[in-house]
Symmetry: C2
Subunit: 219 residues, 2 copies
């Protein structure tokens, strides 16, 4: 069992979209926004937004709405985006390299400190500032470097073994791209990237019209 | 504006996790499950599950729970996973190649028919059964091949131009990995992959204990 969250995961999973919306508003120099406008922009009901934010304090005033900069800064702090994080990537295949090259993460405070692989041919390559290193020195590296997040970009078969090695070395957060249910200790945070969920949303929507025609006929 | 969904997107976004859970249950030869057990497994309240599913018909019986195989098959059909889809990937960089190599999508009916790039050095390469082709022949290719979903794996700068070319050729669904808000016609379905949302969930959870200590102190 991975670490349990204090607030419901459903609330937590809505926060990034709030943050993205407020960031956009702030970029466009909007100073305040009514709760109905915010609700429309985010696609979540006014009362749900109010309820979600209430977990973290009092935001928004009756009859005024939300102060954009204040709420943006609050969400940034709530999401832990006022800090920086040291990350490593395990697996320097296409996916690992794609993530390593994604400079946006660096810009928002996720600093890549190293990449690990089993393939000796990759060991001399550097992606931006991060070296690709032998997975055999993972334990040594983690003993001397403070790493907050390990990003798992390896095939399913090795994922559990590597996750065990990481958590044994004290890694407390794993961002997992391997399509497998990892088992991690109770104090470790595991975030699985479910790419297929997003793809299924697309296939759902490609069929939604037909689906409701069929449902209507069956009634 | 991309195409509007009939059912709330929040409901739609919960369906893939229902599906994954039922698939697992079915694989483990579980025949029926109570609504409270299902609720616990999925992490969504019993009434929410009931309400969500009610959009698509009557599932589950009072005092019995859910018939696993029946619900699994229904969800498969609802998500459009009883059909197959032809896909193309735009962008044969690391991310494009990673997605192309991800055989799991093929297994569930998403068949990759081609990959497009601007780099002539890649044009002779084949990833599994799909050729990498010159982006200049995109329109010709789409005129003679029925493609359901275009997967956008290109840098932000070119994404809108390519999206315009795709929709002009009649592409009705775009799975977008570029970190940009694309504009598409009203009848096109756009699904943005927000990798950073998942990363922000992780940074949130790394800070949640400290956050609530601070909130408690401020009260």
């Amino acid at each position: 069992m991975s670490k349990a969250a204090i607030v419901s995961m459903h609330v937590i999973r809505r926060l990034p979209s709030y943050y993205r919306c407020l960031k956009e508003l702030q970029k466009n120099s909007v100073n305040k926004i009514s709760s109905s406008e915010l609700s429309e922009k985010i696609g979540v009901s006014e009362s749900q937004i109010r309820q979600d934010l209430y977990n973290y304090g009092n935001f928004g005033k009756q009859g005024y709405g939300y102060d954009v900069i204040k709420l943006y800064n609050a969400l940034k702090r709530i999401l832990g985006l006022d800090k920086t994080y040291n990350t490593i990537i395990i697996g320097a295949g296409n996916l690992g390299q794609a993530i390593a090259n994604y400079t946006d993460f660096e810009e928002i405070g996720f600093n890549l400190k190293g990449i690990f692989d089993i393939n000796p041919r990759l060991f001399k390559i550097k992606i931006r500032d991060a070296k690709i290193m032998d997975i055999n020195i993972l334990e040594d590296f983690l003993a001397t470097n403070k790493i907050d997040i390990a990003i798992l970009c390896i095939p399913r078969d090795n994922a559990q073994v590597i996750a065990d090695r990481l958590t044994k070395c004290g890694i407390k957060a794993i961002w997992n791209f391997s399509p497998i249910d990892l088992k991690v200790p109770d104090d470790v945070i595991l975030e699985n990237v479910q790419l297929s969920d997003s793809l299924f949303t697309l296939s759902y929507r490609l069929n939604e019209d037909d689906l409701f025609k069929r449902i209507k006929k069956e009634k």
